[in-house]
Each structure stands twice: as structure tokens, then as C-alpha cells.
């Protein structure tokens, strides 16, 4: 088990997090939603603790807690006064090994998750379309499945399915402990030995996932729904993440340059796309671009816009294509690159101000294949990004590459 301590003594409080290197993309085919439903069930009982007692204990000591499931990882955390840290570690270690999956509780919690799915996804046409974009963009990689799972597969998950996922992935060798706050390594270490140290480590598991075939065709997904009152448009290209970038080989490590690129063309009120489509041409009420480098598997580079009333999707799409073409033809300017790099550094300083931000950044990096030195060297790597690298990354990801274009529209022509 890898352990990370981030000392911050502002208040006598700690954030205690355990991250498992298993997320929705590690589920077996047909078992979508298993990672997330299991995350919910981790709040039920263990061989040593009756159902519900975990949360009651956290509440009784004045702690707050939650958990999250992502494509690449599942995490659990509590924020507590530092004197209760070891009690949290004891309980977290207990449910890492001794979870009880009661069939009746599984069925009840399944209903909760189905409601969660309705609330997050099915109640919102935009979210429904985003699921289809993901399904189209990733033809073979398990990122094509929604984290929360497909409804019919959530309904079909058995206790055995959940047990199998738990047994395979939940063990110290596949977990990372992050403790941030009023704590030092010297004080944490004996506590960790008394708690997680008692569990057999198991062996780290290689995550064998299907990979993408060469993509040769662009795709369009369209959702027309009477509920939609504000149309929107997006286009997504497959792009390397930091991790997949490494395996591309020398000269093709585009992830840092793509982070800068997304800031220059699509990040905020002075970016190229917003200025052109929203401020000057007035074709869109909002517009931008986005990229995230964090995934263990492939990532994407996306453009998005919502049309001004009276502007057709076709006009908007052509305008956005014009922006992309201009970018590829003229490239980005040195000034813009310098500005974006500067504001990225400031964000990093701001992140130091929050107790949980540091734990979040480190945990999510380590659990999806990066190292501490990746995290620490990030500012230097961003500082090193050149205009040429940004332009090369734009060409590699956007020029004549297949993409997925998504249109969300109401039933009346807009």
C-alpha cells in the first residue's frame, strides 16, 4: 500500500482517503455499474460492524465523509478531527477486507442507485446525449460505458458480481492511502501499521483493458427531445492522456501541450473561440474547448457551443470548423501561450490553500498511473511547453482526425 502524507496545520483536522486502482472501466463486460454500486454498499456492514454503523460512527465524532467512483478509480474519505484519525483508519481497513454483502441490502441500494441514475442522467437530455457521445467516441475501450452503469445492467447485477469485483480489487496492494492535514509521517506510520498493515497485501493487479482500434470514420449523434429549450453542439476528438502520451514515443508526448492549447483556444472569456463566436460573431451564447490529461486510458479534446436563438446548428458548426481550421493554419501565438501558462501556475498556488485539493490532486494522479514526481514536475513541464509543441499537438489531434459531433435540439426547429 502506497502512503502519502500532506502536512497542513491550519486547523487540527485531517482528510483521510483511500483510493482503489479500480473504476468503472475495470468492470467485466455486461457488469456496468458494479464499481459504483459496490461503492454504495461499502457503507453497509462488515463482519465486525453492523450495517449503518460506519456512518453513525463518523457522524458521532463530528466527521464528514463520502465516496466517489470514476472511470479509473474508486475513493473513500472522511474529514475528522485528528484525534479520530486512527479510528477512521481502523474502520476503513475493516471494510477493505470484511465487507458483508446482504442480498436484501443490495436490492434496496440498487433502487437508490437507479434513482441516482434518473437524477443525474435520464432526467436531463443533455446528460443522455453525453452518454451517447462517450459510447461513440470509444468504440472498444471500456470508457464507452457510463460510470454509473446502464440501467438494464444495474438491474441485473448480482451479489456474486459485486463480490467478485470486491475480492479482485479491494486489497492494500491495489490501494493508496492519502492523509492530508494536521499530521506528520512520523505520527501516521505506526497507525498505518496497526490498521492497514494487518491486512494481507495481496499483489498489485495489472489492469488489462481493451484498447481502441484505429478510428477511420467520423460519427454524428443527435438527440431531439421536446424537453430541450436551449440547443447545444459539441465535437470530440480522441486525444492522448498524460499516461497514454508516454507510450506514443519521443516527440509525441502531447499531453502538456494539449493542456496549454485548450486554455489558449477555449478556456474562458478571452479565449479565441469565445471571443470569436460569442463576443464578435454573436453566433453562440457560450463556447469553448476542453481537455483533461488525467485518465489512465485515452482522453479527448472537445469543442462545444450553444447557439444564439435564430442561429442554425449548421451555421454554428461551420463557424466552429472555421475556428479549428484557422488554428491549424495559423497556429497559436507566443503571447497567448505565455499567458495561459502563467494562469495555470496561479491555479496550482491556489490549490495549496485548500485542505482537500492537495489530497484530491495527488490521490487521483497516483491511482491512475502517475508518480509523485509527475505531480511535482508538472509546473516545470508546463513551463517548458513551446509554441511549436502546442501547434504540433493541435495538428496531431485535430487535423483530418475522425471525431464525434453531437447535436442536442428541441423538437421545434431552433
Amino acid at each position: 500500500m502506497q502512503v502519502v502524507v500532506i502536512s497542513n496545520h491550519r486547523v487540527p483536522v485531517v482528510t483521510h482517503m483511500v483510493w482503489y486502482k479500480a473504476g468503472s472501466a475495470d468492470e467485466l463486460p455486461g457488469k456496468s455499474g458494479a464499481a459504483h454500486l459496490l461503492e454504495h454498499l461499502m457503507f453497509k456492514g462488515t463482519k465486525n460492524l453492523p450495517s449503518g454503523e460506519f456512518s453513525k460512527t463518523v457522524a458521532r465524532i463530528g466527521g464528514s465523509e463520502n465516496a466517489f467512483t470514476s472511470l479509473d478509480y474508486t475513493g473513500y474519505y472522511q474529514n475528522v478531527a485528528v484525534e479520530h484519525l486512527e479510528a477512521m483508519m481502523t474502520m476503513e481497513a475493516d471494510r477493505m477486507k470484511n465487507l458483508v454483502l446482504d442480498p436484501k441490502e443490495v436490492d434496496t441500494e440498487r433502487l437508490v442507485v437507479l434513482e441516482e441514475r434518473s437524477q443525474r442522467t435520464d432526467n436531463n437530455p443533455g446528460s443522455v446525449l453525453r452518454e451517447h457521445v462517450r459510447g461513440a467516441l470509444f468504440m472498444n475501450h471500456p470508457y464507452r460505458r457510463p460510470i454509473i452503469g446502464w440501467e438494464h445492467e444495474i438491474r441485473a447485477l448480482s451479489v456474486d458480481d459485486l463480490r467478485a469485483f470486491y475480492d479482485k480489487w479491494y486489497a492494500p496492494a491495489n490501494a493508496i492511502l492519502v492523509v492530508a492535514g494536521d499530521i506528520t509521517l512520523e505520527r501516521l506510520k505506526p497507525m498505518a501499521e496497526r490498521t492497514y498493515g494487518k491486512i494481507p497485501a495481496s499483489v498489485p493487479i495489472q489492469r488489462g483493458r481493451p484498447t481502441e482500434p484505429p478510428q477511420k470514420a467520423s460519427r454524428r449523434v443527435m438527440l431531439k427531445d421536446a424537453r430541450v429549450r436551449q440547443a447545444s453542439w459539441s465535437r470530440s476528438y480522441l486525444a492522448p492522456s498524460r499516461i497514454t502520451s508516454i507510450s506514443e514515443g519521443a516527440g509525441k508526448e502531447h499531453s502538456y501541450a494539449l493542456e496549454v492549447l485548450s486554455g489558449v483556444i477555449g478556456g474562458g472569456a478571452t479565449s479565441q473561440i469565445y471571443r470569436s463566436l460569442v463576443v464578435e460573431q454573436k453566433l453562440a451564447v457560450s463556447a469553448g474547448a476542453g481537455y483533461g490529461s488525467g485518465a489512465l486510458g485515452p482522453s479527448r479534446f472537445s469543442f462545444y457551443a450553444s447557439p444564439t436563438p435564430g442561429v442554425s446548428m449548421d451555421t454554428l458548426e461551420k463557424a466552429m470548423e472555421g475556428e479549428i481550421a484557422t488554428l491549424l493554419k495559423d497556429g497559436v501565438s507566443a503571447d497567448e501561450v505565455a499567458r495561459v501558462k502563467k494562469s495555470m501556475f496561479a491555479e496550482a498556488v491556489y490549490a495549496r490553500d485548500s485542505l482537500s485539493a492537495g489530497a484530491q490532486v495527488l490521490g487521483s494522479a497516483l491511482v491512475s498511473g502517475k508518480t509523485i514526481s509527475d505531480v511535482e514536475s508538472w509546473p516545470h513541464r508546463i513551463a517548458d511547453v513551446t509554441v511549436e509543441q502546442v501547434n504540433a499537438a493541435a495538428h496531431a489531434v485535430l487535423e483530418n482526425r475522425p471525431s464525434v459531433t453531437a447535436l442536442l435540439q428541441g423538437e421545434d426547429p431552433q
Binding site: 502506497q2 502536512s7 497542513n8 437508490v112 496492494a173 491555479e347 485539493a357 495527488l362 505531480v375
Partner: protein, 448 residues
């Protein structure tokens, strides 16, 4: 986002990872110490100096916001909040935004019902520019046609989007049900018609009438000392008018009618919101109600509503209740979401929990656990400078006193079993809960 200096990493216990690095941080811990700063010009701010990071966070609020929007111009305060960072003084919108971005200064405004709030976050190195931009934003906003039209379009797009969001529609419907004829019944963001009716003069009038020294409170946290803050306060705020236009908003009496209202929408899950009379923040019994609500439907994973509706029956993903004290009314409100065919069952359980609490109250152990939680979790709110600055502002808006942080936990601790159970009987009114359901609920209809 990803730059952290204070990292220690070791491998322990299971020995699968090599030891990579060990470096401890020995900065001393310190408590939150609130200082009252009065500027040479007489402007007050509450300050927590904290030099750990080179960051300054300022939050401030002007009393009086959306409730004062003129009839037919609902959404005015909200629109101003979207435009103060869109050009002022010599800088047009793009120039202003570019200056903020170049210097990584965060400057934002938000309008609520009762307060118009602002936040400024800057690195210490850029504080001169940050305070100058803030002064310009509140003192000489330009309201040029281009940003006014653009922000108006964005607000209208947001209204179109949220008009089909069940949770948003439920909240607006509930407000209208509770406060007919009172500004609290109107939408903070306005309606498409009212937003289109707002003129440039309206925007200027709002700034002139509302942003004044007599209704301003300020909280600051971070890398700045009291004497310097005093000078900065005068620099930023002293040119504002001394007094704001008097508020004509009356105390509001919510219509606690026991009515159920269903708004039809084609969604698989119905959004449910509900409310009854609550208690205001300055009520001497506030903490009794606060502890009571925590047990009934408050935060965390242990409230009765959570337990009965989610844990035991799987009826909802989110369910809870909260005290909603505003300047002119007190409410106890709640929310939930459940499949259309289970709305009836959910409402039944909700009401029966309301009855059970009113009838039987709570036992000593439940109260003790609740108080331990509310006391023990309080420090968790002090884990970022922005949060602390926001608390400093709230303390002033609610007249809680500068020593409130020292007294707050004893106020919770002082709530007795008798207090909570008497409050449950006095406050909870299950027959008169006003309920709004947005969706296609089966077997639940509007009260005629």
C-alpha cells in the same frame, strides 16, 4: 491545480513500493483569530491574517438584492452581478477580463434574494492590481452595449435550460406558492420577459442605489496585515455613496397552506420540494430548531429522512431538509427525488416522519450524537481561506458578534432534550407542509 510542495511519501507495511521521499513540514498550527479592522476612513472589515500561502481572499456583501428588483424587472440584481466584471473605467469588457486572467485574479459577483455578494482572490504579488480592479468594478462599471446584450443572452439561455430542469422548476414553484405578492415569491434570475425589459439605466440605478457604505460588510482572510487592509479598504470602497436607498421590503408571511402542487413534466424521476414555517436566524431559539432539523433531515448519512426514505426503502438518492432563514421570513425546507410511481409512497413516509418527530421527539442518545456531530464537525468549515472569509461575512450580516466562533459550540451544547422536543411540537406542522412535485407522478395530484 497540480503543484504541491508539502509532500511526504513513504512505503510502509506491505512493502511493495520503494521509499521515494521523506520531507516533513513543520509549520506551526494556529487557531482562527478574527480581528476587527477599521480603516482611517471608517470602513470596517473582519480579518483573519494567515501568511501560510501568498494568497488574499476578500468576500463582501451589500444588503438588499433581488428582493428590490423593480416590478417587471425581476432579475436586475442578478444581471448586474454578471456585468460588473465585464468592463469598467478605461477597460472594456475584453480588456478587463484579460487583465483578470493575466494576473490570475478571481473577481466574481453573485446576487441572492437579500444580499449582493462579491469575492476577490489574488496572489499577494498582484494585490495592487486586484484592489484597483475591484474598486473600478464596483465604482465605475461601463455597462457597454456588447457585454450587456451578451450577458442578457446568456441569462436567457440559462432560463431556457432551467425551464426544463425539474429541480429548478420545483424550487421556483414553491417560492411562488409560499410568497404570493411578496418579492420572495419572484425568481432571482427573473423571467424571459423581465430580463428583456432591463435597460442600461436600470443597471446603473441598481449600482448607484445599492452599492453603498451603509449596507456593506467585508471579510478578509490571508496574506495581509490589519494596517495594510485598512488602507486598502479606503482605496477600494471609500468613494462609494455613504448611504443606500432605503429598502421597502416587508416582513413576509409564508402561505403555509398544506397544499400539494403537481407540475407536469415528462421525466422519469419526479423532483419533490417541501416547506413549512421555520425560524429566523436572530430567533433566540434558533439552535433548538437547528439541532432538531439535523436529526430530522440534516446533513451526513444519518438523518431520519435519509434512513427511512433512502437507506431502508431505496426511494430516493437525495433526500433531506434544512432551515432556510432569510432576512424577512423563516422556513424549514426540504428536497427529494423519486421515480414517478413511488412519489406517493415517498410523500407518505415523509409525512409520517414529520408526525413521528412532532409526536415522540427524540431520545437522549440521539440528541447527544447530533450535538457531538454538530460541534465536532464545525472546524471542518475552516479548511480553506475562501470558506473562512464567507463565514466572516455571514457573521456580520446576521449580527452574530465578532466572538461568535468562540461561542458557537456552546450554543449547540446548551440545547437540552426538553428544548428539542418542545421545539418539535411547536415547530413541526405535518398537516400544513406545502409540497411541490415536478414530474409525472402516479397517484398524486394537485390539491384542488
Amino acid at each position: 491545480m497540480r503543484f504541491l510542495k508539502l509532500i511526504v511519501i513513504v512505503s510502509i507495511v506491505t512493502g511493495l513500493w520503494p521509499c521515494e521521499e521523506a520531507q516533513a513540514n513543520h509549520k506551526p498550527g494556529h487557531m482562527v483569530n478574527v480581528v476587527r479592522v477599521i480603516s482611517p476612513g471608517g470602513i470596517e472589515a473582519w480579518l483573519v491574517s494567515d501568511h501560510l500561502n501568498p494568497i488574499i481572499n476578500m468576500r463582501f456583501a451589500f444588503r438588499g438584492a433581488a428582493t428590490l428588483d423593480p416590478e417587471g424587472k425581476e432579475g436586475l440584481a442578478n444581471m448586474v452581478s454578471g456585468l460588473l466584471d465585464e468592463g469598467s473605467g478605461d477597460l472594456d469588457s475584453q480588456a478587463f477580463q484579460r487583465r483578470l486572467e493575466d494576473l490570475s485574479i478571481v473577481l466574481r459577483f453573485d446576487a441572492g434574494r437579500d444580499t449582493f455578494r462579491g469575492r476577490l482572490k489574488t496572489l499577494s504579488d498582484n494585490k495592487d492590481a486586484a484592489f484597483a480592479l475591484l474598486k473600478s468594478a464596483i465604482g465605475s462599471p461601463r455597462f457597454d452595449d456588447e457585454p450587456v446584450n451578451r450577458i442578457r443572452s446568456q441569462i436567457l439561455a440559462g432560463l431556457r435550460r432551467s425551464s426544463q430542469d425539474p429541480g429548478t422548476v420545483a424550487g421556483l414553484t414553491l417560492a411562488a406558492e409560499l410568497f404570493p405578492g411578496h418579492p420572495y415569491g419572484r425568481p432571482v434570475e427573473g423571467t424571459p420577459e423581465s430580463v428583456k425589459a432591463i435597460s442600461g439605466d436600470d443597471l446603473k440605478t441598481f449600482v448607484h442605489e445599492r452599492l453603498a457604505l451603509d449596507n456593506l460588510v467585508i471579510g478578509v482572510v490571508g496574506d495581509i496585515r490589519p494596517d495594510e487592509l485598512g488602507r486598502r479598504l479606503d482605496q477600494v470602497f471609500l468613494d462609494l455613496p455613504a448611504s443606500s436607498k432605503a429598502s421597502n421590503v416587508k416582513e413576509a408571511q409564508p402561505q403555509i397552506s398544506g397544499r400539494t402542487k403537481v407540475v407536469k413534466m415528462a421525466v422519469p424521476q419526479s423532483a419533490i420540494v417541501f416547506a413549512q414555517k421555520g425560524i429566523k436566524r436572530d430567533d433566540p431559539d434558533f439552535y433548538k430548531a437547528y439541532v432538531l432539523n439535523h436529526i430530522l433531515g440534516g446533513g451526513g448519512f444519518t438523518s431520519r429522512l435519509y434512513d427511512e426514505i433512502r437507506e431502508k426503502r431505496g426511494l430516493a438518492y437525495s433526500i433531506g431538509s434544512y432551515l432556510y432563514p432569510t432576512r424577512h421570513a423563516g422556513l424549514l425546507r426540504g428536497y427529494g427525488g423519486t421515480a414517478n410511481k413511488r412519489v406517493g409512497e415517498t410523500l407518505k413516509v415523509l409525512k409520517s416522519e414529520w408526525w413521528r418527530m412532532a409526536d415522540k421527539g427524540v431520545d437522549g442518545k440521539t440528541l447527544k450524537d447530533a450535538k457531538t456531530y454538530l460541534i465536532g464537525s464545525y472546524p471542518l468549515r475552516f479548511t480553506s481561506s475562501g470558506n473562512i472569509a464567507a463565514i466572516l461575512v455571514s457573521m456580520q450580516l446576521e449580527n452574530l458578534g465578532i466572538d461568535f466562533l468562540d461561542r458557537r459550540n456552546s450554543l449547540v451544547a446548551g440545547v437540552s432534550l426538553n428544548d428539542v422536543n418542545a421545539m418539535a411540537k411547536r415547530l413541526l406542522d405535518p398537516d400544513n407542509l406545502v409540497i411541490v412535485v415536478v414530474g409525472s407522478p402516479e397517484g398524486v395530484t394537485s390539491t384542488p
